[in-house]
Amino acid sequence: MKKQTFFSVLISTIIIVASAEPALAYVLLSPRRRWATTPITVRTYTVGNSTITDGSGGVNATVSAIRAWGIINSSTTSSPAVRGSAPATIMLNTNGGICTSGCLAATLTGYYISQSGDDRIYDADVYTNTAHQYYSSGESGCSGEYDINGIMVHEVGHVIGIGHSNVAGATMYPSVSACNAGNRTIEADDRAARDNLY
């Protein structure tokens, strides 16, 4: 191969690799399931988290944050979650008896297996471990706390039927560290998962 040809191939390869879309590796919950209609109603219980000092205990921040998915009808509710019954409800003030120890937040979903393979989600509720410290977009600064906005955007990804992604930087990537507010927006991988379902 001539030197000029070699460099042409090399440069072309570099350009192709550099411009390639990142591999999408989202994972849907298995068996695949989704809500029957969109927008999906998600309510946030008005009793907030006592560690969040933004005036609403993170309720207002959560209501706003989860709209990042673009298919969520988000508002508050004065009724706590009723498991096994819609609408999906976010509880910032209780671990629901299930999210303890190292758990920051947990999503409990319910569904029936259908014969057609098109399973429907009947309920999904989110619980928060009140043993940990959180902060919201309504506060300034962070010291060893976990970002409630990002956590709830991630949890609502589970609510709508998405599992964990292997793509670092995706909101559905399961890792989270204190003072990391990177999950407040959804990324290409998350959008691809959403668009697969709805």
């Binding site: 298995s30 068996p31 498991r83 299930i98 920051l104 937040a105 979903t109």
Partner: protein, 194 residues
């Protein structure tokens, strides 16, 4: 000794259980080991699922026949492990990313007691569960890749043998537990998250 410690640390890092779930805070092996009431090896001889009394949560119960206790604490030959999630009358509840427990599994579990009953739960969620597999004639521990909400294909279980994922021998695991519970830090390992 130093070399052996390095090997154990390397193995444990490679074996580190991917944290998934809903979302979890990172816990070190030492934390998980010291916080657990029991650390056991056993066989899941039976499982069943039922609603709780208020008909809000489905729990899956597992009868675990214990063959070995790790660390300084021992207990009964049989334990009942209860985990959130399960199927009753065709309706399935799942706590996304929480550990699943299945009949016939050979496991090593870190256990703590539920606050409201005498049942036990897997401590630190999926960080507290390992599957026992055979490799080249030895029993080894591998992380369980199939959690609630994950793909329910058995091929995941066979992947361990096929691809030779990292594993820890029972003796190496026991040494790590002993060190952690004796207050000798196992190199301050931080479990990776998936």
């Amino acid at each position: 000794m130093h070399r052996r410690s390095l090997i154990l640390v390397s193995l444990l890092l490679a074996l580190a259980v991917p944290l998934s779930a809903s979302q979890f805070k990172e816990m070190s092996f030492d934390e998980v080991a010291t916080e657990s009431q029991y650390i056991v090896r056993g066989h899941v001889v039976d499982t069943w699922s039922a609603w709780d009394d208020s008909h809000e949560v489905i729990f899956t119960y597992a009868t675990l026949r214990v063959s070995r206790y790790f660390g300084e604490v021992a207990g009964p030959d049989t334990l009942v492990v209860r985990e959130v999630g399960g199927t009753v009358d065709g309706y399935t509840q799942e706590a996304i990313g929480f550990p699943a427990i299945r009949r016939g599994e050979n496991v090593v579990l870190f256990l703590s007691q539920w606050e409201d009953s005498a049942d036990y739960r897997i401590h630190a969620f999926n960080q507290g569960k390992y599957l026992v597999r055979q490799r080249q004639g030895f029993d080894v521990l591998v992380a369980d890749p199939v959690k609630q909400g994950d793909e329910r294909l058995e091929r995941e279980h066979h992947r361990f043998e096929a691809e030779g994922v990292s594993a820890l021998t029972i003796d190496e695991f026991a040494a790590m537990v002993d060190a952690a519970r004796a207050g000798r830090p196992t190199a301050g390992i931080r479990q990776m998250r998936d």
